[in-house]
Symmetry: C2
Subunit: 247 residues, 2 copies
């Protein structure tokens, strides 16, 4: 067991089922060698510094100098950009295993804030870079992950540019579990660690519209909302049709 895994196991909040990057799915470009080796994992772990964050805790702010690369160990964060007048677009939610700050540039082009109690591993770019130099598999993994993120981004552009409110919400509810490794997502249960305003700013809508759409979906028996922070997809097929604009 690597030191990295130990860190996680030590956490009282999040026992099992954690997806470290080594979880290398098959990758077309990389072939099958994309799995990060245990020794790389070890070296990566040795480089890390752990940052605990409370809900609302700021990891980075747009415009900050960018000497770090981050990897979420536990919890969830929102990543967003702002317009001068305060309009906010959340460009993504980060869950355990996700990287942040890989992109080039002297300053971060975004802000990142914890949505719940979280732990983030921090790497100085210098040593991280050196490690990349030495490790073929690590760089593969990064390219792999960045590629996936790009596909997700294109998906989100389709959503923001062309989908109606209800279609956006449906797409969101279907996607969310696949990004959040903290629950096995059984029986259509979706964990919603974010508030309405965060969903709104992610989907390019207002809180009111988010609320109305959820009400409509609930009224239609497509979803149920047993309690705050959770939601159950009762009719996945109808939700899927909505997401594709066929509802």
């Amino acid at each position: 067991m690597t030191a990295v895994a130990k860190i996680v196991q030590a956490s009282p909040l999040r026992p099992p089922g954690w997806n470290w990057p080594s979880a290398g799915d098959h990758c077309d470009i990389c072939g099958d060698i994309s799995g990060v080796t245990p020794s790389d994992l070890q070296r990566l772990a040795d480089l890390a510094e752990n940052l605990p964050l409370k809900a609302g805790g700021v990891l980075v702010s747009e415009g900050d100098a960018a000497p770090y690369i981050f990897n979420v160990a536990l919890g969830s964060l929102r990543v967003f950009r702002l317009l001068p007048d305060g309009r906010r677009q959340i460009t993504g939610f980060l869950f355990a295993g996700d990287f942040l700050g890989l992109v080039v540039g002297q300053t971060y082009a975004f802000s990142a804030v914890a949505m719940e109690t979280s732990i983030v591993r921090r790497f100085r770019k210098g040593p991280f870079r050196q490690l990349i130099e030495q490790s073929r598999s690590l760089e593969h993994m990064l390219l792999h992950r960045t590629s996936h993120e790009l596909v997700a981004a294109q998906n989100q552009m389709l959503l923001l540019g062309r989908k109606m409110a209800i279609e956006r919400m449906a797409s969101f509810l279907l996607d969310l579990p696949s990004h959040d490794p903290s629950r096995p997502s059984t029986g259509g249960l979706v964990r919603l660690p974010m508030k309405r305003s965060e969903i709104a700013d992610y989907l390019g809508m207002t809180v009111e519209t988010v609320s109305r759409v959820l009400t409509r979906l609930r009224a239609g028996g497509i979803i149920a909302m047993p309690n705050k922070g959770e939601l159950i997809v009762e009719q996945p097929e109808r939700l899927r049709r909505h997401a594709q604009g066929e509802g």
Copy 2:
């Protein structure tokens, strides 16, 4: 001079000023070694197969098997996704130097069509992958480019999710030249190889709105439209303010 460069020089349509990936700007992650070596360039060139495309020529269709990776040598393409009912979101425009199809997956998640006479280099993934295995600098370059694309994607999410029509157009007109290497973009001149419907589908609007917004900008003396396919930014500062929602 590499074989790749020769290919380009042979083209009557596009003599100089061409940005092959070796144009390695400084990269925070990669450090300074991100430049692709001449020998890598050579090997990449040897792998390439050239595809000429007419305006409207289809390079890939959403759902196609994805055995290739592409690199634009000349011209411009639109990359888009469709909803079942035909709604289209253009996720990006490609110009000389841009890569396509790097992302993982057995099938392409998008379509790509030439907007004007173009030449695209095609690589089989297998050999391309092998080359990546061997070349540190090449993989750096790919990670570098993908990272940049990701930043652009986040920018576009802000645009699609939170900007008004006029702000979208302003942002678009300011960005476009920086992606299109085919002209030095002197004196505010912007080349517009795409039609109104393509701009609309890129910005998440309708042709009518695109037209109206351009008319408004022209009426305000911010831009001029001397002839089809070209546009002049007369007041870059005001355009910039519009793009940031401060207009």
